[in-house]
């Protein structure tokens, strides 16, 4: 199968907001090829895989779109949902955006998708709780001619219409490569992941290990820290006791990274290079502590909270009869000690994920701060 690729970059702060709804959408389509990937910030988006023909899905609006959200208990999901709802309100051809919450339950999510079908939706967006569990029901729905768009976390196979998300293995590799360089290619490091058994961490860690191959990096331990600051601090405190020398910390999320750095501070140990994502709490900690610890450096790759916006736009493109790429892979820009000031939101809570299309005022309202 031929693979078409279409890559482009838009400068951050020049984020494209399709505020004019369908008009803006049409304008956007003229700028980029019909099958082009979407874009909203400084992230590079690679369109890969076959081109999905929109003619097969073309329908007259207004549309009813369902979104099966795996769960909604963290700030990333909250920002993502807010952006998505804002985007939905700007499309006059979108009559309903029905959002259902899987509450972290695999079987409930399958049931949620079935309920959406019974409500005669034209398309289903989905962040899967399990990459395999939701695959059969999406396959059945896709066969019925409904547009199915998994995003953020991949769904097994290809029996869905199109996918939008980052590539965790590639992200893990990039972070591993950065850490290898930042710790002088000879350091002793520890690694902290997310929830036990989650596929995102598994892929990201596999990528990091590839980046360490052939070098002098010594991995002392890998532990799950649940993407929670308190858990990461507890785990890191144990690792500090076990290992007198820790030269770097690899994390796939910055709540883990912030917890790990706080554990080093509590143990009166110097802060070291650390990786993670775009969690504001770590950026603020870096700003506060980098002057005290010259070896403290950050290498971060975001998981953009505007993925839902891209997913919604892709869905509407298909329903309008436009072609889209089978996969749109988001490749965020590396946030480091050199450019972190472009990203940090000093006046906003730690919980904010900064690679967002929401303004500071919108975030303040959202976080009631």
């Amino acid at each position: 199968m031929a693979i078409k690729k279409n890559v482009y970059v838009v400068t951050r702060r020049q984020a494209i907001r399709l505020s004019a709804g369908a008009l803006g959408f049409a304008a956007f389509s003229r700028v980029f090829p019909a099958y082009g990937a979407d874009a909203i910030s400084s992230a590079k988006i690679t369109a890969a895989g076959e081109t999905v023909s929109g003619s097969k899905y073309k329908k007259k609006g207004p549309y009813r779109i369902g979104f099966s959200n795996g769960f909604s208990g963290n700030t990333w999901r909250t920002e993502m949902l807010h952006s998505m709802k804002q985007e939905a309100s700007q499309h006059q051809d979108l009559a309903d955006l029905i959002i259902v919450d899987g509450q972290g339950d695999i079987s409930k999510q399958v049931n949620d998708v079935e309920n959406l079908i019974s409500q005669n939706v034209d398309a289903i967006l989905c962040i899967a709780n399990s990459s395999s569990a939701v695959a059969p029901v999406l396959r059945d729905v896709t066969k019925q001619g409904v547009v199915t768009i998994p995003f953020n976390l991949p769904v097994e196979g290809e029996a869905w219409t199109a996918y939008i998300g980052t590539d965790p293995e590639k992200k893990g590799f990039t972070l591993g490569k950065w850490l290898r360089q930042a710790s002088g290619d000879s350091g002793k490091i520890v690694a902290l992941g997310g929830l036990p058994g989650n596929s995102y961490t598994a892929s990201a860690w596999a990528g990091a290990q590839k980046a360490f191959e052939g070098g002098q990096i010594q991995v002392l331990a890998f532990r799950d820290a649940y993407w929670e600051e308190d858990r990461a601090k507890v785990v890191m405190a144990d690792l500090i006791a076990a290992y007198p020398q820790i030269d770097g910390v690899w994390c796939d999320g910055s709540q883990d990274a912030a917890g790990a750095m706080k554990a080093l501070l509590a143990a009166k140990r110097p802060l070291v290079p650390v990786t993670g994502d775009d969690y504001n709490g770590l950026l603020k900690l870096y700003q506060e502590q980098s002057g005290n610890y010259p070896k403290f450096k950050i290498g971060l790759l975001s998981e953009p909270t505007w993925e839902g916006v891209v997913a919604l736009r892709t869905t509407l493109k298909l329903l309008n009869g436009e072609d889209v790429p089978k996969r749109q892979i988001i490749e965020p820009r590396l946030i480091t000690s050199e450019n972190y000031k472009d990203y940090i939101r000093p006046g906003l809570p730690d919980g904010v994920f900064v690679d967002t299309d929401l303004s500071d005022d919108e975030l303040k309202t959202l976080f009631k701060s």
Partner: protein, 322 residues
Amino acid sequence: MSSPDRFSHALRFLHHLGAVWIAVILLYVVSGLISPGMFQVSQALNILQIAAFLGIVAIGQTLALLVGGIDLSVAGVVTMSNIVVTSLMVGRSETMVPALLISLLLAAAVGFINGSLITLARVTPLVATLGTNSILFGAALVYTGGAPHGSISPGFAVFGQGHLLGLPVSTICWLTIGVAMAWVTRQTTFGRRLYAVGANPAAARLMGIPVSAILISTYVLSSVMACLGGLLLTSYIGSPSLGIGDQFLLTSVAAVVVGGTALSGGLGSVLGTIGGAIFITELNSFTNIVRVSTGTQFVLQGAVIALSVLIYHLVGSKRISS
């Protein structure tokens, strides 16, 4: 003395001393031999500091189990206290005391609702408290809109992060509360009634014990303990998190059971639970240090809990037969 008699005596001795304390020492020695880092004073203090959070929550859970119930809302109460105090303190000093009082009052209200559901509406403790737990999580989501904000008052950090005379302040708080609750359960009328209600509620009622009042007070105390544990953990980390309480849902029960309290009620002690909390934290710490996967960590914890129940069942039946 024959072998079975010797075994029986050994079991009785273990039971008298509190088998969990022997397990705590054994695990510490074994883990230290495998990973010398465990023998460092700083690591021992670290374990005691971390154990305080689970330890206080588990004291409340002990009371619930002693009356023959269970409190699965402790996870929700921990999350609630974290969200409430950080959102009310917002990093300012003058808001500290009101935030703490509001948090404790809310926890007491949750306990009162749990107790009332169990005694007045006759809902089983497991269902009632699991339901409350779910409501609390939902309420935290509604209250924060899924985007929690705020941070602790600067002075509050000392409880979770500070040291006094070389000991973590959180540990001192925990042991003080633990000793006080051990005294309450063993030396006061309320404590004796608690055991009586747990052993046989019908007989307790016939003896004139106000069973409903005892049950409601117990669930109020359990919630307040969960809140105190949550407050210490919040002080340790300094920021809000919607998932902060999840880890206590089952580990609080595990610490109590490992500490020798019977799931059937009327048997057990707060001092045993203190040992149980140290044991669970020690086990976590040890499995964090040695290179075992999270899967193995879960298997180990599960096996230890099952083994504890088995040993206590064995000790219990031996005691009855002798």
